[in-house]
Assembly symmetry: C3
Homo-oligomer: 116 residues x 3
């Protein structure tokens, strides 16, 4: 079965399709001047774009992994997360833990797995 790699470079691909499963990279924000809610909103908009590249959308997300550079940002992250999910009919499983990210100004990184 073919693997389809989107927006790949020598380090990683932004999103990969294989066996009907769509997996995004861990997505980080580009605008590091925003707060955790703003950074989360930017990351989720990028995830929407990547899912659309694969012909799927957030209603088909199965799981999400969320890394926060400070776990105390969880409530601010959820302020962007909850409206993005859009209700329990779309809710994926989730793991949310603290981890230092590539740049100390990055407050959140999110990776999702979806089906097509």
């Amino acid at each position: 079965m073919a693997i389809v790699r989107h927006e790949a470079n020598k380090v990683y691909a932004k999103v990969v399709e294989a066996n009907g499963i769509v997996t995004t990279a861990g997505i980080v924000p580009a605008d590091l001047g925003r707060d955790a809610k703003g950074q989360t909103a930017e990351v989720l908009a990028e995830i929407d774009r990547l899912l659309a590249l694969c012909g799927t959308d957030k209603s088909k997300v199965v799981s999400a992994t969320i890394w926060l550079n400070d776990i105390r940002h969880r409530e601010a992250m959820n302020e962007a997360w909850i409206p993005w999910v859009g209700g329990e009919a779309n809710a994926p499983v989730r793991a949310c833990v603290e981890a230092k990210l590539v740049d100390p100004r990055m407050l959140v990184e999110i990776q999702v797995v979806a089906i097509k």
Copy 2:
């Protein structure tokens, strides 16, 4: 193919079935007064319950991710983990790293992927 989401709320689902794959949320203990072994036992009992909701069980777990709020709790976690796994015929792949969790009294969070 349909996605089945169990015990979902506006933030996340406890376990999701899609394409024959069952993925739990990152499960944390409710009783935060126990030690790492006790918290692990509680988490694994909850995972058993979630797998059963999907018509599967621990003998079909493919992978597990374990976050410990202090990596030095690994041995205590393993004291509950090893009997739960129940022998090499059931052993999933595993990644176990340190991460701060939502509440500093939470010593362990576990997420598993299984097949049906």
Copy 3:
């Protein structure tokens, strides 16, 4: 559908096949005297070996999770990672975050998911 567990013990399996998907454990280096580039090279060689056990190889890797015990080792890790990937045609999605690992001398742990 059968699950095939390779090199399993009572704690975990090194790699598991299920539903056409191959998942490795979080692989850590054995030689803890090397720098982050050297440890990464050792881990990736072990991943090559595990993928081969399952009849697949690095050209079919879908996703990779990389934990570094110090995120500042990312560039050194990439010096081994980039040649291993071997170009954008093979590039998996990737998440790379900081986490303390089982032994403080372990600088890197990598887990991959591939298809057959």
